[in-house]
């Protein structure tokens, strides 16, 4: 194994990227701290709540990118895992363990259900390629959608789940009510810190961990083999890698991250809607990821942020919003096939190089 790994990636490159770890994480943390502040500037017209939603949904896009970007498999069915995480978390608080008052439990249950579903579905779909893979993911996602839709006793069907009261986050010594605002602190043009809820801090920390996880994953031996499979699946199989297991793992990881995103969304919104499971949601994850740039760490987050922010700004003014979204999407596919982040030239400015980091 080690011989083939070094053949896939020159040792020198490994060394130079490793040395970039600390600056990378510092910049990432800085970006996550600054994002809601800059976002609050009058020209951006954003607000703390939107910043939080973008990060939550961004986790799903980062998850989809593990499969689409790094494993090279297009799924039109990841709404299933997002929705299962959402309903799993919501039902934990409403029906499974109504007396638990735990913040972690609904997230664990939601992610667990999504992960199990991703394993079951992933084990079947990885046998197929390209268009067949995409269509089989659609088929399974539609199955999940109709099961949740029909199972009225448990899921309320198309009414969705309402009134999920989010427990406070208990860290032993301190408890956080995440819907509380940060302490008042006037930052001049950046607005007031108290316009941001504690939710943002929590989600930003989760996002930081997700970024670190995916970065480590992609740079690990596993990630290198995945890239080899993406470039030439047959050859990777001949070398001796169990291609199917690598692809199932990628599918499960991406499904689990979508489940995490859904679970957080359920707790944040206090509700779960059946729309989360539709093919539109799957399509949105694909749009976010492709617009931002597949195979880049920050592309999916930038894509999610850009589209969700534009939606927020534009849909208030015109109902042509989704048309504009479609035009942006097609324009990116035709003119920027690598997405926004993927198209930034590395040499022009170093911050772009940082964003392009794999």
């Amino acid at each position: 194994m080690s011989a083939s790994t070094s053949a896939l990636q020159p040792a020198a490159q490994t060394k130079s990227t490793r040395s970039g770890d600390l600056p990378f994480y510092l910049w990432t943390a800085f970006g996550l701290i600054v994002f809601p502040l800059v976002f609050g500037l009058p020209i951006f017209n954003g607000y703390g709540g939107l910043a939080t939603q973008i990060l939550i949904v961004g986790i799903a896009a980062v998850g989809l990118n593990v499969l689409l970007g790094y494993a090279g498999q297009l799924s039109y069915g990841h709404a299933a895992f997002y929705g299962l995480g959402m309903y799993g978390a919501g039902l934990t608080l409403l029906k499974f363990f109504p007396g638990a008052h735990s913040f972690a439990l609904p997230i664990i249950v939601g992610v667990a259900i999504a992960t199990l579903a991703a394993f079951a579905i992933g084990s079947l779909v990885v046998r197929l390629y390209g268009i067949y893979f995409a269509l089989l993911t659609v088929a399974f996602a539609q199955m999940v959608y109709f099961i949740v839709f029909q199972w009225r006793d448990l899921t309320n069907g198309d009414d969705g789940l309402q009134g999920i009261s989010t427990p406070s986050l208990n860290l032993g010594v301190v408890r956080f009510d995440l819907s509380a605002a940060l302490p008042a602190l006037n930052l001049g043009p950046f607005g007031d810190l108290s316009s941001i809820k504690e939710w943002y801090v929590f989600v930003a920390i989760v996002m930081f961990i997700v970024i670190a996880f995916v970065r480590t994953l992609v740079r690990s031996q596993y990630g290198e083999v995945l890239a080899a499979i993406r470039e030439n699946e047959e050859r990777s199989g001949f070398i001796g890698f169990d291609v199917r297991r690598y692809k199932i793992a990628a599918f499960v990881i991406s499904g689990a991250l979508c489940g995490l995103s859904g679970a957080l969304r359920a707790l944040y919104d206090g509700s779960a809607a059946i729309e989360a499971l539709t093919i539109d949601t799957s399509g949105n994850f694909v749009i976010y990821t492709v617009v931002g740039g597949v195979q880049t760490l920050f592309g999916p987050i930038v894509g999610t942020g850009l589209i969700m922010w534009l939606q927020n700004v534009i849909s208030a003014k015109t109902d042509a919003w989704r048309l504009i979204e479609g035009i942006i999407f097609v324009a990116v596919i035709v003119f920027l096939p690598n997405g926004i982040i993927g198209s930034l030239r590395k040499r022009k400015f170093s911050f772009a190089g940082l964003l392009r980091a794999k």
């Binding site: 067949y132 088929a139 048309l323 479609g326 097609v330």
Partner: protein, 291 residues
């Protein structure tokens, strides 16, 4: 559950199945010829339906049946020359994304122009009656629709299998490069097939709208089951699309009768089983699995 209700459901399934057949044949010949996975095919159906709506109100249903497919065919040629040709032979992922984006643009344009509410158009008087079929009264229009689709499908088959132009098409499905080397105009044939497949969807869009109401999402609602049809039958296979369409139509209709709760999910279960047991589809060729 009487025998009559079974016959009724069976007929309903046949009509729905034939509609799927016509849409799926377009998808499958486009895939066979252009190697293009067309997520915008539902949009062709929707454009046909709305053009039909406008023309039917102004000039009558007969003109709508002409105008719908014609407008859609022209739109398809424009689309092909302006954008799609740059994506021929690219990886299927890029094609899926592109046509998916085009489908969104079309759907939203229709929504802005015609509103999001469902609409339906009425039939001319002479089509409104009912006929006695197998001992029960069945709407005459549905029977005409079924016969019409069978006729159109037969024409398409004759075109592909019996004409010189169809020969280029069939050869192009096998080996594009060889057709070019032999002097066949593969690009023209590709555009023609794309327009033909699109026109079929547009025609069905007009013809099916008196039965199924129209809204901007209609196209998408027909697209996904049509993909199920094509996958079950075998992507690129003409008779596979026919068989798959009837199977999917009957499956939905009979399940609606027996166990309505599973009516929508059953076709996806069927598709998943077929893909896992026989990935090339019932009548497909194994060489295309890796497409």
């Amino acid at each position: 559950m009487t025998a009559a209700s079974f016959v009724q459901a069976g007929l309903n399934g046949l009509i729905l199945g034939l509609i799927y057949v016509a849409i799926a044949i377009g998808l499958t010949i486009i895939f066979g010829m252009l190697r293009l996975v067309n997520f915008a095919h539902g949009a062709f159906y929707a454009i046909g339906a709305y053009v039909g709506l406008v023309v039917a109100q102004q000039y009558g249903f007969g003109y709508a049946l002409l105008a719908g497919p014609l407008v859609v065919a022209l739109f398809a040629v424009f689309l092909d020359r302006a954008v799609l040709r740059f994506f021929y032979g690219k990886e299927p992922t890029a094609q899926i994304l592109l046509t998916f984006g085009i489908a969104i643009i079309v759907e939203e344009t229709l929504r802005l122009r015609f509103g999001g509410t469902t609409q339906q158009y009425s039939l001319p008087q002479w089509l409104n009656g009912s006929l006695a079929v197998a001992g029960l009264q069945y709407p005459a229009y549905r029977i005409f629709l079924a016969l019409g689709i069978v006729a159109v499908v037969a024409l398409v088959w004759l075109f592909i299998s019996r004409t010189n132009y169809g020969l280029i098409v069939r050869a192009g499905v096998r080996d594009r490069t060889m057709v070019q080397l032999l002097g066949g105009n593969i690009h023209q044939a590709s555009t023609l097939i794309f327009a033909l497949g699109a026109a079929l969807a547009g025609l069905v869009g007009v013809a099916a709208s008196p039965i199924y109401s129209i809204d901007p999402q209609t196209g998408f609602n027909f697209l996904i089951p049509s993909f199920v049809v094509v996958v079950i039958g075998g992507l690129g296979s003409f008779w596979g699309a026919v068989a798959g369409g009837i199977i999917v139509g009957e499956l939905s209709a009979l399940t609606t009768l027996i166990y309505p709760g599973a009516a929508e999910v059953i076709i996806y279960v069927a598709m998943a089983i077929v893909l896992l047991v026989r990935p090339q589809g019932l009548l497909g060729e194994s060489e295309i699995i890796r497409g």
